[in-house]
Symmetry: C2
Subunit: 425 residues, 2 copies
Amino acid sequence: MVSLRKEFFIMSIVRELARQAKEASRQLATLTTADKNSALLKVAQQLLADKDSILYANQEDLARGKQAGLSPALLDRLALNAARIDDMVEGVKQVAALPDPVGEITESWQRPNGLLIDKVRVPMGVIGMVYEARPNVTVDTCALCLKAGSAVLLRGSSSALNSNRALVNSIKKGLAGTAVPVAAVQFIDTEDRSAVDEMLRLNGLLDLVIPRGGAGLIKRVVETATVPVIETGVGNCHVYVDKDADPAMALEIILNAKCQRYGVCNAAETLLVHRNIAAAWLPEALQALRQRGVEIRGCPAVLELQPDVKLADRDDWSTEFLAPVLAVKIVATLEEALAHIQTYGTGHSESIVTNNQETASRFLKLVDAAAVYHNASTRFTDGFQYGFGAEIGISTQKLHARGPMGLRELTSYKYVVRGTGQVRS
Amino acid sequence: MVSLRKEFFIMSIVRELARQAKEASRQLATLTTADKNSALLKVAQQLLADKDSILYANQEDLARGKQAGLSPALLDRLALNAARIDDMVEGVKQVAALPDPVGEITESWQRPNGLLIDKVRVPMGVIGMVYEARPNVTVDTCALCLKAGSAVLLRGSSSALNSNRALVNSIKKGLAGTAVPVAAVQFIDTEDRSAVDEMLRLNGLLDLVIPRGGAGLIKRVVETATVPVIETGVGNCHVYVDKDADPAMALEIILNAKCQRYGVCNAAETLLVHRNIAAAWLPEALQALRQRGVEIRGCPAVLELQPDVKLADRDDWSTEFLAPVLAVKIVATLEEALAHIQTYGTGHSESIVTNNQETASRFLKLVDAAAVYHNASTRFTDGFQYGFGAEIGISTQKLHARGPMGLRELTSYKYVVRGTGQVRS
């Protein structure tokens, strides 16, 4: 009974926050670009002014995290410092400088009956974000959503609760007195997990929820939500080195795709190598990878070339390691590489290295992923790298947005139809 | 135990159908436009050849429906005849004649590092359709999805089971021997409702589910599905007659929006009238509506003008009547009209009649709906009327597609990135 009451209480709070966000979103949708930009610049100023209190709150989270035994990697993701806050502030300013997608007429045509139809970009409304660790997501999300004319409902991880609360307070202080309503930013300030379930079922109030975090979080959101969701991020990415690859280029690309950063969704997790090039190319490539501390897990054919490599098991082909581990498989044909990617890929980023245009074309056409690369690293799947100026995540679903999501991907559209009394016959 | 076994059996079947569709979708995605078009024309031929057996199957459904006490309206929706089959066949031919969206490069740019990025339209993959009555949806859906390069998994209502089965058999016969794999069309041939629940949770196999039917069906799909969904169809549409409206035009538009067809989602369900024009315009308008058999349910101010009108209750403002019933409210200001639409509208189609450009602009900007009209009937929200050539439904959500969904709205995209060895620094 007590638990039921508590759940009902949390439900009421979450719903009320969303209702306030919805109301604010209506006002936000009517603002000019200048109004939104000047509010974002005020937010940037305020974050700088609040640096000390934000760092203080972050210290609390870090202390709790150490006590709770969080891994050094997680503690590093959680940690803020003056430079990281400066980066966030810079990010907000960059979003303010980006072109405003709202109001853009993307198509316009006239029907034979004289009706003029405009397809116009409009804000999404209220965007929910469910995310883990990294407090910078709080700031990035607010900046991007507000610029795209939408209100936000934020739910961060409990490990970052103090940091996120301090950041949201600062953002709201920054918005006060600007044209952007303070209520356009809402933060679910509780560690209770039932709040997320409530949030994910706010049909009619939430127009979209984006989960950002590990595979577990994303799965939970997809399975629980009745509001529309964009799945992000899980990337089991492959580099396929074809028999017609330039060996030096192939080495550069796999080293970059695997080692430039380990814990990111667009890093390569499996290397596929055509058997005709394996003997000549693979030993040197594996040596270079191992010199950088990468553990290799190979198929039996790889072990024939390098007997000291660990044998890969089935799980290795489907694991997003996010670590210095690489699964390596020798394939007999392009088709075998395609079939492997089809079986184990997550539709994120896939790359082929080859100088054969025909082989490249087949790969680019047949691989079903958000981003397919020819002679380039998978690490380019990123809103900044694509020139979007920023990104809120990388979609791995096919509905609405695929790949890096920038400001445009955070908008919807409507049809504006102008007539002179037309009726349907 | 028996029931569990049965559910498991149905689950296995549904999953297997989807798996076959997924496999077929990969082949379908590589076909040329000519291949797809010639397959659709074969389907059209086959449907004509199978007219008798389709009508026979439909007679069974009608007989069962009469026994089960279906309303005359539902029986009419269910009924096929030679002319309706000819219409379906004509529809398939029209889809074959439409431009192919797949492969279109919608954007193309080069990054400073030399990477060439193409944004390319690609098929969705496997599209699920859950629909009620109208057997023509079976044929329309197949034609549109196949042309858009996607396989389909169909689940019609049990009242149309025999008709749908006959239509699917005919479509599959038509596809046999063409480049389009027969397995690209899959039909869940059972009345068991657990099959729908299974279908809605086929993440990884189904890329999208579209429900088409009444509010109950759509709610159930939205609440059950873990795969991406596009909500369609529920339309509580308004016509607002402003004080600056042309009275004759306003009369034409409300008569058309209400009476041109009653059972459709883009028909008007509520008329809002500015009080300054109400006394002069409304009595005549109500008389014309009543002459056409429309029942009026008015707010108290309407009853002051027309005492014999029935008083509307709160439900009347939120009901999609789909019948010759119209709720009528007199408002004091544009803002009151906007607030009413915001409260009761379903984000489908909303129209203002006015000769005041400023008022029109405010309405078009502030109303949050898939389609907003100035001096035109709401009945134009339709893929054919917009010039899309066909439609699979009208989306009332903001994610992915809004308003009429044609072939383009049934596609996704991917980024094709071509480099010369670029790596990320």
